[in-house]
């Protein structure tokens, strides 16, 4: 198992380097140099910022020197200061990070659990009416534009049946609540964003679980389990399930970038104070340092998540754990 993990980590290095290169390239693609453009377009930039920026990004130095500069700053997580309020970018990102993590991790859980339930039941009742309906529903969910669904949900729950909050992470009187109430309040606010995120991802995961389960159920060790006289429930939910869910762990790791990326839309719509929303606000106000910071941190989160998924998989699959 150690060898497997070390191998994965070594493979990560070129990826990380690649990310730094790509972000670097994009920054320098801005026609006319982004400092100038920024100055011309953005009224919010304070006068000192431009000089600061020039020095910070070393825009007068040769390209390779700039890249090395970029690398060293990335290592220190120094993205400079926000154009809007001159606060260090890293601070702004870190204070928004927990909200994003909360939303994304919860969404992943929901997708995993619901997806497994739908997938397993679908595998057990293949070609039944239930199966066809579920396939159709998840397929539709896959095709519905998520942001539109969010709008509809907002319309329903804010206007018609105001039972769920549609914006923010907590109510106005949050500070005055007891600890348990606070948790409930946040959870209540999470219902819609998590639901919308899950709706799209469900189709893919449930379908994968279903086909994985179907494949596992056709294996000889399952027939052998029946031949042993084991109860069907035990065979399906113990013997078969563990085998079919293992690849799903990897799949969830692969869906991470999608979920993290998608959070940018949902956070904006639901005014969720997370990293995605920060990125959007920065985009709207051309706050370049913040944008670069959020993108890089988002990529870092994905790498971390993938690594965690790899570790989890290595631990679950005895064929890798005990080689």
């Amino acid at each position: 198992m150690k060898r497997y993990l070390i191998k994965r980590m070594i493979l990560m290095i070129p990826v990380i380097l690649g990310i730094t290169v790509i972000t670097f390239i994009i920054i320098h693609l801005t026609p006319g140099g982004f400092v100038k453009t920024n100055m011309e377009m953005n009224v919010k930039v304070s006068p000192g910022a431009m000089e600061h920026l020039k020095a910070l990004y070393g825009l007068d130095k040769p390209l390779y020197a700039q890249y090395l500069d970029w690398l060293s700053r990335l290592a220190r997580l120094d993205f400079g200061d926000s154009f809007i309020d001159n606060r260090p970018v890293i601070d702004k990102v870190l204070e928004r990070l927990p909200a994003t993590l909360l939303l994304n991790i919860t969404s992943i859980f929901v997708i995993f659990i619901l997806g497994t339930i739908i997938g397993v039941t679908g595998a057990l009742r293949r070609n039944s009416v239930y199966d066809r309906i579920m396939t159709f529903v998840t397929f539709t969910g896959y095709s519905v534009p998520a942001f539109w669904l969010a709008l509809i949900m907002m319309m329903l729950f804010a206007v018609k049946f105001p039972i769920l909050p549609v914006s923010g992470i907590s109510s106005i009187n949050y500070e005055m609540m007891g600890p348990f109430e606070k948790i409930l309040d946040v959870a209540w606010h999470m219902v819609l964003p998590v639901f919308i995120t899950a709706f799209g991802g469900l189709a893919y995961i449930s379908r994968y679980v279903k086909s994985s389960m179907v494949e596992v159920l056709s294996r000889q060790y399952i027939t052998a389990a029946y031949a042993k006289g084991m109860k069907e429930k035990e065979i399906i939910f113990k013997s078969a399930l563990k085998n079919s869910l293992m690849p799903v762990v990897t799949l969830l790791g692969l869906s991470l970038p999608g979920i993290i990326g998608g959070s940018f839309i949902f956070e904006t719509i639901f005014a969720w104070p997370g990293m995605g929303r920060l990125a959007y606000e920065a985009a709207m106000s051309f706050d370049y340092p913040v944008i670069m910071g959020t993108v890089t941190i988002a990529a870092a989160l994905t790498i971390l998540g993938n690594l965690l998924a790899d570790i989890a998989y290595a631990m679950i699959d005895p064929r890798i754990r005990y080689k």
Binding site: Q220, Y221, A224, A225, Y226, A227, K228, M230, K231, M246
Partner: protein, 326 residues
């Protein structure tokens, strides 16, 4: 099998069809009748597609979802066709246990050997033994199956064991609930030749020790004859010969005769492999007459038109003369 011996496995008029399309059916088994007495060892032989595996799986109702059975199977007094739920589970693993062809595939890759033995025992024993007692039991079973480092094997995962070890584990699991019957589906096919010999020896000794009724499925005539006095030959979904056969001298049906004939034998000095010319009939459209007719050296006009029934242990109008051992 003598008229006085009670049949512990009784197959009557068993036909199995696989639904392969909206109107298409594959007639895998056609009206099979077979009785095996308690304590008897019978080898069911034939080439791929003859239906022997379908027959084995049907004994414990393990067929795939698209199979349709008619006729009946009675195991130790219980009708398998009618059995479901508790009753069926009472037979599986307890009255009759089964071991499969590829031991690596038949063991769950994500559970240890101990866990898998435990599953088998817990399925039938009540009250359920605690872990300590279970470990002792399991060790004993593994030792009986010829595994000396039972401790290591118990905690191992299937992929950490060799093919021979895996097969022994399979057998230990199969015998864990003291079944009366052992159904062995190609137990040696996936193994190396040297390991094969060991497994055959093991089967012989376990058979004697536990007084098992053995139903051995194999395409390897040598293995069949080593383990069983009685050989049941299948072809194109039917039993074509059934009797105490240990060599070509006892082979009445031309197909059985050909099977023994083509085996390269050290003593005969013949080295090349031969094959029976022709191929098996398409079981979606079973022939009206004898299934073996197109490839049979003794076939005549009658064989094409009329379907032969079993007579004196052979389904043939023109069988060979034999010297049977009684």
């Amino acid at each position: 099998m003598g008229p006085n011996q009670a049949a512990i496995i009784s197959v009557k008029g068993l036909s199995v069809d696989y639904i392969t399309g909206p109107v298409e059916k594959l007639h895998a088994l056609r009206n099979v009748n077979l009785e095996i007495a308690a304590g008897e060892s019978a080898a069911i032989v034939g080439e791929s597609g003859c239906g022997k595996t379908t027959l084995a799986y049907s004994l414990l109702k393990l067929g795939p979802k698209n199979s349709v059975l008619s006729g009946d199977i009675v195991i130790d007094g219980i009708s398998i066709g009618a059995a479901k739920g508790e009753q069926l589970r009472g037979v599986r693993g307890k009255t009759a246990a089964m071991i499969f062809q590829d031991p690596g595939e038949s063991l769950n890759p994500v559970f240890t050997v101990f866990q898998q033995i435990k599953e088998a025992v817990n399925a039938h024993m009540s009250p359920v033994p605690d872990d300590g007692a279970m470990r002792l039991l399991a060790r004993g079973m593994l030792k009986d199956a010829g595994l000396d480092d039972a401790g290591r094997v118990l905690n191992a995962y299937p992929h950490q064991l060799s093919g021979g070890q895996q097969q022994r584990v399979m057998m230990a699991i199969a015998l864990s609930c003291a079944p009366k019957i052992l159904i062995a589906d190609e137990p040696t096919t996936a193994l190396d030749v040297t390991v094969q010999a060991q497994i055959i020896k093991l089967l012989l000794s376990l058979k004697k020790e536990h007084n098992l009724t053995l139903a051995l499925i194999t395409h390897d005539l040598n293995v069949a004859v080593m383990l069983c006095k009685r050989v049941v030959v299948m072809y194109a979904g039917e039993i074509v010969e059934d009797g105490m056969i240990s060599g070509i001298a006892q082979a009445a049906h031309p197909y059985t005769h050909a099977l023994f004939d083509i085996i390269p034998d050290m003593r005969s000095g013949r080295r090349e492999f031969r094959a029976i010319p022709g191929s098996v009939p398409d079981l979606r459209y079973p022939p009206a007459g004898c299934g073996f007719e197109p490839r049979c050296p003794r076939a005549r006009e009658k064989c094409k038109r009329i379907h032969p029934e079993m007579e004196a242990g052979a389904r043939c109008f023109f069988p060979y003369e034999t010297r049977r051992i009684e």
